[in-house]
């Protein structure tokens, strides 16, 4: 998305300054525990991805951070301001895109953004500039005078996103910001998040794992109201079961089974898994899992030496970096 945004006050804060602090946050609906004692901090310049299966409690957590839901227990502080004690001051700092992008259907895009600007305390030329900039940033110029109830889903989403950045907030909380957007717009929103994230603090939830790798500096996986993983996308990926495995393709004069047997004998190999489906001559395709992730490098050189000495030809060799969706599935499927 285009348009330049001014540098916020948070730019002057140290990089590790805690803009959002969530402590022992709990939310109970009747007997249902939607969020169960969650704590985490988010610093300036961090883009935090919220992952988790449906019903994990992502939206509920975001609603408590933005002050919509009152927590059953625990508290939220925004730039050092307690949300329960001084809600208006804390809310001023946040731009929020709720799930499903709610909008007033009886307004036009322009009048809706003006209304949002009014509630944000903007007036006069500051208001005009802010509305213009938001329209431009979210590519809404062509539909500015269209009634919201006639907008397509993607445009509705962008209108609500425009509302969240209209006051140029230091903190952005975006609940599934790319939901319903076309691939070009998805990429634009990711770029916007990355660009804004350099100087601001952003939490966004998503079900698209590539998005996390593309835009986040950190990811939290929530399941059944609890944090089950927290780290950079790279750290999380190494938790995949076959992360670090060496994937190979080896052509041999003998059979694939012979290659598999030889690979199994290597000192650093823990297990060999073949991807050969049927009779493929002497070609072996599969991966070798090292005894511990730190042994991966050694294993690769052993495979290389094996091929040299036995006269196999090694046509492919690379290390599996681990895939986020494998991690996601492994972590959130337990106890189902």
């Amino acid at each position: 998305m285009s348009g330049s945004l001014r540098t916020p006050a948070s730019d002057r804060r140290p990089k590790n300054y805690e803009m959002i602090s969530v402590q022992n946050l709990t939310k109970r609906f009747g007997t249902k525990l939607a969020v169960n004692d969650i704590s985490f901090q988010v610093g300036v310049g961090e883009v935090l991805g919220f992952l988790g299966p449906n019903g994990a409690g992502k939206s509920t957590t975001m609603r408590m951070i933005t002050g919509y839901f009152e927590p059953t227990a625990g508290h939220v502080s925004i730039d050092g301001i307690n949300m329960s004690d001084e809600p208006s001051r804390a809310k001023e700092k946040i731009g929020y895109l709720p799930e499903n992008a709610p909008l007033y259907d009886d307004m036009t895009v322009l009048s809706f953004l003006k209304f949002a600007a009014d509630l944000r305390g903007l007036s006069g030329s500051a208001k005009t500039t802010a509305v213009d900039k938001a329209l431009e940033t979210c590519f809404l110029k062509p539909v500015r005078n269209q009634s919201i109830d006639t907008l397509s889903k993607g445009y509705r989403h962008r209108t609500c996103l425009a509302q969240s950045i209209i006051h140029d907030p230091e903190i952005l909380i975006l609940d599934e910001p790319t939901d319903g957007l076309d691939p070009n717009q998805k990429a634009e929103v990711r770029n916007l998040i990355r660009r804004l994230g350099e100087t601001r603090t952003i939490i966004f939830s998503t079900h698209i794992l590539e998005e996390v790798e593309a835009a986040c500096t950190r990811a939290i996986i929530i399941d059944k109201g609890k944090i089950v993983a927290d780290g950079t996308p790279e750290e999380l990926k190494t938790k995949a079961v076959d992360a670090g495995a060496i994937e190979v393709r080896i052509d041999a004069p003998s059979s694939a089974a012979a290659v598999e047997a030889e690979l199994g004998k290597l000192a650093s190999a823990k297990r060999v898994s073949s991807k050969n489906l049927g009779e493929e001559g002497g070609a072996f395709t599969g991966c070798v899992i090292p005894k511990g992730k730190e042994k991966a490098g050694k294993l690769a050189s052993e495979i290389f030496e094996l091929c040299m000495s036995k006269g196999f030809s090694l046509t492919e060799l690379h290390q599996n970096p681990g895939r986020l969706d494998d991690v996601f599935r492994a972590i959130t499927r337990t106890g189902e």
Binding site: G67, Y68, P87, R89, K91, P98, Y104, D118, L119, C160
Partner: protein
């Protein structure tokens, strides 16, 4: 304080624009003008009544129209916010929920102020027919405005509990009708047969109708105004409780 005024103004403006960009406000105002003037000419016999005050020829009928039409104005105020999910936007803005509640209430009472002002030709009519005493007419109009505003406030409170406008409309009409009938002579007589007199007086005192009739007779009692204002304030408080309950 300045901030509160600014926020209330923004909310009121949005709601008023919403009322007048959709047909709802026009439809309600037109229906109201037709039935209120229609009744006073044909049922109220405005031409022949001889009495130039509007108490029995015009004001007397108004509560029945308010009871049905005012909830139609108030029903969308929060039901729509719940249905569209926009309440989540509204309440995560840096405004106090009271600003939104008061702003919405003011917008809907402005709709009624406009509707009532548009009935003013009936005053010209009685001025043409005779020499009316303007005191009761003005206090009657004030009473009518407070009556309509009370019904709107009640329906706003009910709309804060539901996402369905039609549910809100039906319950609001029932509540407003009940509050109106409490003071109606036939109903009071029925109560008289069952309950001690002071209890009946207390119940009748809760009626929107009896306070309104006092005001149309030109008995501009501070007590009546206070009564309507307290109905409004209680409704706004209930609205606030309903909204808090949804978030807790």
């Amino acid at each position: 304080m300045e901030i509160a005024v600014r926020n209330i103004k923004a909310v009121t403006k949005r709601e008023l624009v919403a009322y007048f960009t959709s047909p709802i406000a026009y439809v309600i105002i037109v229906i109201f003008l037709l039935v209120s003037t229609g009744f006073s000419f044909w049922v109220g016999d405005l031409w022949d009544f001889g009495d130039a005050s509007l108490t029995w020829t015009f004001f007397f009928f108004l509560p029945w129209f308010f009871v049905v039409l005012a909830p139609a104005v108030g029903m969308r105020l929060w039901a729509d916010e719940h249905r569209q999910g926009t309440i989540e936007l509204m309440l995560t803005m840096p405004i106090h929920p009271w600003h939104a509640i008061v702003g919405k209430f003011l917008a809907s009472s402005v709709v009624w102020a406009i509707a009532l002002l548009l009935t003013w030709p009936i005053v010209w009519t009685v001025q043409y027919l005779g020499d009316p005493d303007m005191g009761p007419i003005l206090s009657g109009y004030l009473g009518a405005f407070l009556f309509a505003s009370s019904c709107v406030a009640i329906s706003m409170a009910i709309s804060a509990f539901t996402r369905s406008q039609i549910t809100c409309l039906l319950i609001s009409v029932a509540v407003c009708l009940g509050l109106t009938l409490l003071g109606y002579p036939q109903i009071v007589d029925q109560f008289m047969k069952m309950l001690p007199a002071n209890v009946v007086d207390g119940i009748a005192d809760l009626s929107l109708m009896s306070h309104f009739l006092d005001m149309t007779k030109g008995v501009l009692v501070f007590r009546d105004i206070l009564y309507f204002l307290s109905v409004i304030v209680v409704s706004l408080l209930v609205t606030n409780i309903a909204i808090r309950a949804k978030r807790a």
